[in-house]
């Protein structure tokens, strides 16, 4: 159509949008999701970054919901977890790791305070699952199985639920009301829990109850003993019974000077408990060095603060009345302790052995197909034992024995039990590549120190069984949550949308992230370079 143009003008003026500059591109930006190091390190498989993002927006209930999608025990976890997430946190390379554990505890405590519960499943599958043991693994499995619609019965041998959390972890680290509240939340979903109800024979129990599957989660309640010749009126106890007796009416009598033998977290728990019971001196004797000690360093630090003393590279040869003979050790080339033949004596009112624990596996005696190795049950990658439909986890399965690992086992087993009951394939667990520190553009993160948990002073701590580590309040929990860098996953900061010189990033609105307009993207790489969290890759264009 002929258009009348002014003098010397022959073409209609139009927009430059007809010029598709995307053809210049040799590299193309692509949005990616990466696995944050905290999530990668979490034995319970929590989406830490996910729930922190709700917390930083101040939506604590949503944060609690997101957290408990993987772990039903946040208030417990926020107290006793050794938080490998914080050890992996990229933020530690900027200033200090995000206090994930403290925020988790804040959310757990808030949930108890507000009475947030778990919804019962929409419909029941009609399948019945038996869970043996109401410790962290059993509770976690029961919770997840119930969410998936299965009928779950937990049979607990002890008088109260919680397992080693109750009978192995001192009150000053985990108040019992917290265990009670989080267990109650799980039973309120319709999980049946019976106490003082030991399973002696798993085959019989399954047949009698008509169970379609079972998850075995018996804790390591039996103390290991080393042979130490004892004479006279030597008072020798084991750590498990000592910690267990703390749950009784009468506190155990240990005397004024207590020696603890062992180098794990239990040894520290015992020594700190002894101090609280009034011991003037608590000495830990350990055959190797601090570096080789299996206990977590922060717990050792807390113990040292409380005046616990350490005797490294020492073994106890014999006990005679209140006197024990200690042999000095030295580490050989391979790091193993070797006797030196040098002796000294140590006087004490009692000796507590904290040399590790075993699981009572007698319930499996009549169960065909089950293999036992090094005192634990062999399980397939899907947590199933050699007996069809019987799964095992927690202290019973070969792994590190922590509450968090147990919770992770419970979750994993529940997923596989569900697949087994539905006759479905094993659910996929493919993960994204790691969101490493070098992928971040840390300029965009504000500098901020960690919110330090208020610590009860060491002096006060040793006189009471009050909690040692205090919680966050709402303001500092929010502050702490906001320190998360969101490594590897878009948090909609609008940087890519802002920094594109070609308007080639399309903003899709809250929750929907962004899209690259490849008609105009020239592939300059600014969006990828300025993405704070490393959620954009530049990949070669196929020409």
């Amino acid at each position: 159509m002929a258009v009348k143009h002014p003098y010397a003008i022959t073409l209609d003026v139009g927009t430059s949008r007809v010029n598709h500059t995307g053809s210049w591109r040799t590299l193309r930006p692509e949005y990616v999701d990466r696995l944050p190091p905290c999530n990668a390190a979490c034995p319970a498989g929590e989406d830490i970054q996910g729930w922190l993002s709700h917390a930083e927006a101040g939506d604590y209930e949503q944060a609690f919901r997101a957290l408990t999608a993987n772990n039903p025990l946040p208030a417990i976890m926020g107290r006793v977890c050794y938080h490998p997430c914080e050890g992996a946190c990229n933020r530690a390379q900027i200033d200090e790791a995000v206090g994930i554990n403290a925020v988790e505890r804040f959310l757990g405590d808030l949930a108890i305070e507000k009475g947030w519960g778990f919804a019962a499943p929409d419909k029941d599958t009609g399948k019945k699952v038996l869970v043996v043991g109401a410790g962290p693994a059993g509770l976690s499995a029961a919770y997840h199985l119930r969410r998936l619609g299965h009928a779950v019965t937990i049979r607990e041998a002890g008088p109260l639920a919680g397992g080693m959390m109750r009978f192995g972890i001192p009150k000053y680290r985990l108040p019992r009301r917290i265990i009670d509240a989080e267990v109650a939340r799980i039973t309120a979903m319709g999980v049946t829990l019976t106490l003082n109800d030991k399973v002696d024979d798993i085959e019989k129990a399954m047949t009698a109850g008509g169970f379609d599957a079972a998850f075995l989660a018996v804790g390591a309640h039996i103390a290991k003993h080393a042979y130490i010749p004892a004479a006279g009126a030597a008072k020798v106890l084991d750590a498990v019974s000592l910690l267990r007796s703390m749950e009784g009416e009468e506190p155990p009598l240990l005397g004024r000077k207590v020696v603890v033998y062992g180098g794990g977290n239990t040894a520290l728990d015992v020594a700190r408990t002894a101090k609280r019971l009034g011991a003037e001196e608590a000495i830990i004797v350990y055959r190797r060095t601090r570096e080789k000690m299996p206990a977590h360093d922060f717990e050792l630090e807390e113990a040292l603060d409380e005046g616990i003393s350490m005797k490294w590279l020492s073994t106890i040869k014999n006990v005679d009345g209140g006197v024990m003979q200690i042999e000095k050790m030295k580490l050989d080339d391979k790091g193993f302790p070797q006797p030196t033949g040098e002796y000294e004596t140590l006087e004490a009112d009692s000796l507590v052995l904290a040399l590790g624990q075993d699981v009572d596996l007698s319930l499996l005696d009549k169960c065909p197909g089950i293999e036992i190795e090094n005192g634990v049950v062999k399980v397939a990658p899907n947590m199933m034992t050699g007996r069809q439909g019987v799964f095992a986890g927690g202290d019973m399965a070969p792994s590190e024995r922590t509450v968090t690992v147990a919770v992770g086992h419970g979750k994993k087993a529940a997923r596989h039990i569900d697949a087994y009951l539905r006759g479905a394939d094993t659910p996929s667990t493919e993960k994204h590549g790691l969101a490493s520190f070098d992928r971040l553009n840390t300029w965009y993160y504000e500098d901020a120190p960690a919110t330090v948990r208020p610590m009860i002073t060491a002096a006060r701590r040793i006189n009471t069984f009050d909690e040692v580590v205090g919680g966050l309040d709402e303001t500092n929990a929010l502050y702490e949550a906001r320190r998360c860098l969101s490594c590897g996953n878009c948090f909609e900061c609008d940087n890519c949308y802002g920094v594109c010189p070609d308007n080639a990033v399309i903003k899709l609105g809250p929750g929907n992230r962004f899209r690259i307009d490849y008609d105009y993207c020239k592939g300059c790489g600014l969006c990828a370079a300025e993405c704070p969290c490393g959620a954009i890759d530049m990949v070669p264009e196929q020409l």
Binding site: T15, N19, Y444, A448, C493, D494, D502, L526, A529
Partner: protein, 338 residues
């Protein structure tokens, strides 16, 4: 600074956003308080399909500045453009990338044309229609300088924005009076005993603008969007002559990676080479402090125009002179928190 911190105090009693203090957007504050560039509603005054090089700092700076000015003027804005990269890459006849009234006349007369546009709006009874003039450093500090100074001294109601990429880039990277010492350009080649641009020449127009005692003068950078938008918004709140000088790295002319544009702008600030400040009525009123101080070598080494300074592994003594320039800026403007 931007509006954000105020709301944080009232709503959260916390002056801290880990992931929104420096980023373009911040999902935790209300839409109205966010940067213009974070909004789906931004005017995109300079839209797609323009022919600027990959990673062009000027294309970015122009959209940042003009979008902010558009918001401040309720989209009642006319732009006058000097000749230069910005004019060339946005308006190859018959296409235009400008989604706003836009005029181009000559290389050196943008300020004078803008004076006329502002006068026309005034006499035709449209005082709500505001005027911006814009140009590169060539059209501003060299060729259009006379017209610019005239606009300043008459206090015409124009916001003049200079996008400083430190040379005549679209004509093949020639030296301008804003080209820094030692930089290689087509007219300051790396030949002789002191290759690249000479020391002791050139000018820093923001200081000259301040000397005119006009209502508002500021420097800004594509590396600090919060600051840039706040300054444009502030500038638009004044009547009379205003000047904003924006540092816009040029991947082509500086010999840098297209993905390093913002990083270079950031380093120009953090080294002290580009002081970021604002002045009202002839007095400096605010200085943007250096957040993470960096040595000038961090900045220089990313650019091929300075590659001759690092040849042969022997430190060129002129690097120390450039460092001294940065140190002098830091001292003069007080760029480091005491």
């Amino acid at each position: 600074m931007s509006e954000a911190p105020r709301s944080m105090e009232t709503v959260q009693k916390l002056k801290f956003y880990q992931k929104g203090t420096h980023t373009v957007g911040n999902r935790l504050i209300s839409e109205a308080e966010r940067n213009v560039q974070a909004s789906i509603e931004r005017s995109n005054s300079l839209t797609c399909g323009h022919r600027a090089c990959q990673g062009c700092g000027e294309a970015l700076g122009a959209r940042y500045a003009i979008d902010a000015a558009m918001r401040a003027a309720n989209n009642q804005l006319i732009a006058v453009n000097a000749t230069g990269c910005l004019e060339v890459f946005t308006t190859p006849y018959p296409e235009t990338s400008w989604q706003m009234p836009w005029l181009h006349s000559l290389f050196g007369n943008a300020a004078a044309v803008a004076t006329g546009v502002a006068a026309a709006m005034r006499v035709t009874g449209k005082p709500q229609v505001r005027t911006v003039a814009q140009g590169g450093d060539g059209g501003t500090t060299d060729i259009g300088f006379g017209c610019l100074s005239g606009m300043f001294e008459r206090n015409d109601d124009v916001l003049y924005i200079c996008y400083d990429n430190e040379g005549y880039m679209n004509t093949g990277v020639q030296r301008s009076s804003a080209t820094p010492p030692a930089a290689r350009t087509a007219t300051t080649p790396t030949l002789g005993t002191e290759p690249g641009n000479v020391f002791g020449t050139g000018k820093f127009v923001p200081k000259i603008a301040v000397a005119h005692d006009i209502p508002y003068v500021a420097t800004a950078s594509v590396a600090d969007l919060h600051d840039l938008e706040a300054k444009v918004t502030r500038a638009m709140s004044f009547q009379g002559a205003r000047y904003i000088h924006i540092n816009v790295p040029c991947p082509l002319g500086w010999g840098a990676s297209s993905g390093d544009t913002i990083k270079l702008a950031r380093l120009a600030i953090e080294t002290g080479l580009f002081p970021v400040f604002e002045a009202e009525h002839g007095r400096i009123t605010q200085v943007r402090k250096i957040r993470k101080r960096a040595p000038v070598t961090d900045y220089l080494k990313l650019q091929k125009r300075y590659a001759h300074l690092f040849k042969g592994g022997v430190p060129d003594p002129r690097v120390a002179r450039i460092q001294a320039m940065a140190d002098r800026n830091i001292a003069d403007y007080g760029l480091v928190e005491a």
